[in-house]
């Protein structure tokens, strides 16, 4: 009598399951590629690859009602299938060594990717020449930061993750002597200046930046090259009652976006007035309660390092007589007070810096002719990646390559010698 467990084991170690899973993988990868055209890379990834089950597909704007396994499910099942087959069919023979190697390599790759998915963190450092920074910023997530003087000369920062604002309601934090009530939240937004001579509607609030600017919700962007800039209307309430409504917006803390906005206004009202308008947008906002002053801003989520980097020089070289980029290169001074390090490092395309468990990659740069002509200080953006499992693909690839080569050499040698004896 075969038990249910036996039958389940049979299914899990079967080649048939492998084939079905591979076939589904092909379908999902194909659909996930097509979907990028309409949905953008990030959304397509989230919908098809980083997903257990897929309910319904959209291909070139056509909806197909289908239930399919997502990337996570396929990956996990393949992993189970492989591990189960290994356990139940394992034979230590020279003939099978190739296959064993291949499969352990594939297992390592699958596990490694799962780990990367869970553990890897990406952030960016944007600095101009001469600037020193000891933190990187997230490209996607924001935080509402309250900064106050701790009394011993240091600043004390309390941050509230942007996703808490997005979910709305009332937010309390043990380190803050007040409650934050989220009145509205927009994932993407656009500011307009409340020009004094124009007919403006009622302002969102008369406090701080809200007095001078209106903010409107904007359609969420799907492109990889653009980002969403959120805005929230919050009310701050301490023990004595409301401290007023305040607008907190990603716009106020993003130098690049503010610069773009200023350039737009400069065309309409002249550079001097545009400067005043943008100053008004970036003016810090603060409240006072319990004898303390809290300055607050919605800004990209920060990751602090125990060391600092200074951008010494950003170089963008091109091929003679063209505008084809040849090289992007950032010369950096790395200072670490803990280890006493103080040295110069060069980061360029394909030559990242690995330091303290982080990897710094050359990402973007504004140091070419356009920057020079516009009189901007050359700047550079580094991509900062924390990925504890970054080595797994290297080992996995080596194992699979070795295994496949061994296996096929066996076949080939066997085949050729059989022909000879014929």
């Amino acid at each position: 009598m075969r038990t249910l467990v036996d039958r389940l084991i049979d299914i899990f170690i079967s080649l048939r399951l492998t084939v079905i899973l591979l076939a589904f993988a092909i379908v999902i990868v194909f659909i996930g590629t097509l979907a990028q055209v309409d949905e953008g890379l990030y959304n397509a990834q989230a919908r098809y690859f980083r997903q257990w089950l897929i309910f319904g597909l959209d291909v070139f704007g056509h909806r197909i009602p289908l239930l399919l396994p997502g990337g996570y499910l396929i990956g996990t099942m393949l992993l189970l299938n492989l591990v189960a087959a290994h356990i139940y069919r394992f034979q230590l023979s020279v003939k099978k060594i190739g296959i064993q190697l291949v499969h352990s390599g594939v297992i390592l790759l699958l596990v490694g990717q799962l780990a990367t998915d869970m553990l890897a963190r990406e952030s960016q450092m944007h600095f101009v020449e001469g600037q020193t920074k000891a933190y990187a910023e997230s490209a996607r997530s924001n935080e509402l930061a309250f900064t106050t003087d701790s009394g011993n000369g240091d600043e004390e920062v309390v941050v509230i993750p942007g996703r808490l604002l997005a979910s709305g309601g009332e937010i309390q934090d043990g380190n803050l002597p007040f409650t934050i009530r989220v009145k509205s939240y927009w994932e993407n937004s656009e500011p307009t200046f409340r020009a004094p001579m124009m007919k403006n509607g009622p302002p969102l609030t008369t406090n701080g930046v809200g007095a001078g600017f209106d903010f409107h919700p904007d359609e969420e962007t799907k492109s990889m090259d653009e980002k969403n800039v959120p805005t929230a209307l919050i009310e701050i309430i301490d023990a004595n009652g409301s401290l007023g409504d305040w607008v907190v917006s990603g716009w106020t803390s993003d130098d690049e976006m503010v610069q773009g906005l200023e350039q737009g206004y400069a065309g309409q009202v002249g550079p001097e007035m545009a400067r005043k308008i943008s100053d008004q947008l970036t003016q810090p906002q603060s409240i006072q309660t319990g004898g303390k002053t809290f300055t607050f801003a919605l800004r990209p989520e920060r990751v602090y390092f125990p060391f600092s980097l200074e951008l010494l020089k950003a170089t963008h070289t091109i091929y003679e007589g063209t505008d084809i980029p040849k090289d992007f290169r950032s010369r950096i001074r790395l200072r670490n007070p803990q280890t006493g390090e103080d040295r110069e490092v060069e980061i360029s395309m394909n030559h990242p810096m690995r330091y303290a468990g982080l990897t710094f990659y050359q990402y973007q740069m504004d140091a070419g002719q356009a920057a020079r002509e516009a009189g901007r200080v050359p700047s550079s953006v580094l991509q900062v990646v924390h990925n504890p499992s970054w080595l797994t693909p290297y080992i996995g690839c080596a194992l699979v390559a070795l295994g496949l080569t061994t296996q096929f050499m066996f076949h080939l040698v066997g085949f050729l010698s059989k022909r000879k004896t014929k």
Binding site: V37, W390, P393, V400
Partner: protein
Amino acid sequence: MKKLKPWVPMILTGVLAAWFLSTLTPTPDADFKFNEFGQLPLVFNGRLKPMDSLARNSLLEIREKQTLDTEPWKGWDENPKIISANEWLINVMMNSAVADAWPVFRVDNTDLITLLKLPEASAAQKQDGKHYSWNQIAPTFDLINKENDRVQKIESAERSAYEQAVVKVFDKLMLYEQLKNTLQPQDVPDWKEELADYQAMIPAGVAALRAQQAGQKYDQAVFNTFADDLQQLDDMSQLDAPLVVPPQDPSGNWQRVGTALLNAAKGEPVGPAVLAYAAMGDAFRRGDAAAFNAALADYRASLVPAFSPALHKAASEVFFNQMQPFYAALVIYVIAGLIGVCSWFNLSETLRRSAVWLVGLAFVIHTTGLIYRMVLEGRPPVTNLYSSAIFIGWGAVVLGLVLEKIHRNGIGAVAAAGMGFITLIIAQNLAIDGDTMEMMRAVLDTNFWLATHVVAVTTGYASTFVAGFLALIYIMRGVFTQTLDAATGKSLARMVYGIVCFATLFSFVGTVLGGIWADQSWGRFWGWDPKENGALIIVLWNAMILHMRWGGMIRERGLIVCAIGGNIVTSWSWFGVNMLGIGLHSYGFTDAAFKWLSLFVASQMVFILLGLLPPRMWRSSQARTADAA
């Protein structure tokens, strides 16, 4: 006759080799030394190249051919006048009155032809309805500019065929204008004299400019003429024309003629190049071949020894252009393939050996071209889509020859010839975009990853295609002929299986190496980029075939049908994903490529359906049952 038979393959090979060698020397010049002019070095699109390459690549871009037929309305039998790329370029650069009347701009889109009011085909009117001259298009420049401005705002993947044609014709006109402004401001009838006047005027002109700026008295006539000259030179240097003026010091930067002459006003010496080209142009317009050749020889002499390496590199590239190894290989592959197919029917060992010898010859030429290109570029074999086609073909031919060596049944030889032919045809069509040795953008500027990841992935493509091609042979011979006996079928299936194993290895390693490269350059091993996904699909597909085979889910015929599916997934990864217009590897693509890809996929579907027909409908199995009975 019998005694001759063993010699047939060698004789055939000898004849074709002699043909190839005979194409190595260019047609000798009658009076003007055009060929020698073609060897002069310049810098364009960021790299040093000879005039000959500028001429051929520009003509390819503008006319989609490397030569110019000045009477396209005549049929081939009517002996139309054909001129070389160099002769055309010299006329564009030095004698535009003649060149502007030649029908060199190819325009295919009928909407665009109507919009630009271009004449239709008519032998009496000396029009072919496809090729037009600068003078014919000139009246509608404003219209083209306006349309181009509009279309540039549309994402390239979303442009209609007409809109793509607008951008194309605009680019062709821009390139032509750059060429016209390379050696002299365009349309100046007597540049040598004007140049002399300008040089003579510099001291007085600069004095007049300074005086005007300082608010002092100055000579109004001198000021006006000089200011006009400077304006003209500035316009000329704004066009991003090729850089033909070598630097004073060989390690410095090359300059455009316009820039060099503007700098002359600042007191920098005018190099011999500007004057020499002016002298050549003057002699050329007067039809004085002796003076032209003398000026050319003087200029070449002035480049020695400082620019000897540049001259040498230019000359090697001219030789490569002249050799056209991939074209020669393509022709020989066709002949070899046809002979090979014939060998299946009469089972003639002589024909089979002839096919193998010819594939061998074509392969030697193919390899020579591949290596020559690598040396010229200083790069691994694959740097762009064009070179990927050449390399895929090369790899496929290697595999085909290995199979032929093992099985000796003409199948490997035909697969080699067929794959060589198809991939080189694709390469020829990709070359129409202009220079195939373009510079590598920053992130790609790494020979290590180009040599490992790119080579491994393209080898994976090549082998998956070979398996697919063998499968096509199986189906065609099996369904339509009686030549697929049980032994041949079994041997074909073994070949396909072996090649699929090989393909799995290379596509897997190549794909993962690509991930490692991505990890090295921006810290993301896998980013779900369309090109990455395309490669992953090939790996998954091959792995699926192998597991189905091992699990007994498919046998001989199933394996064959799946291998044809490999053709579809590989062509998707090679070309299809680029057409989506997204991701890191998107190159932007034309409708023509999409049409061909769709046709290819459809044809493979048909073969899959044929493969699924029940055996009793296959001619070969009918023959087998008849034999058994």
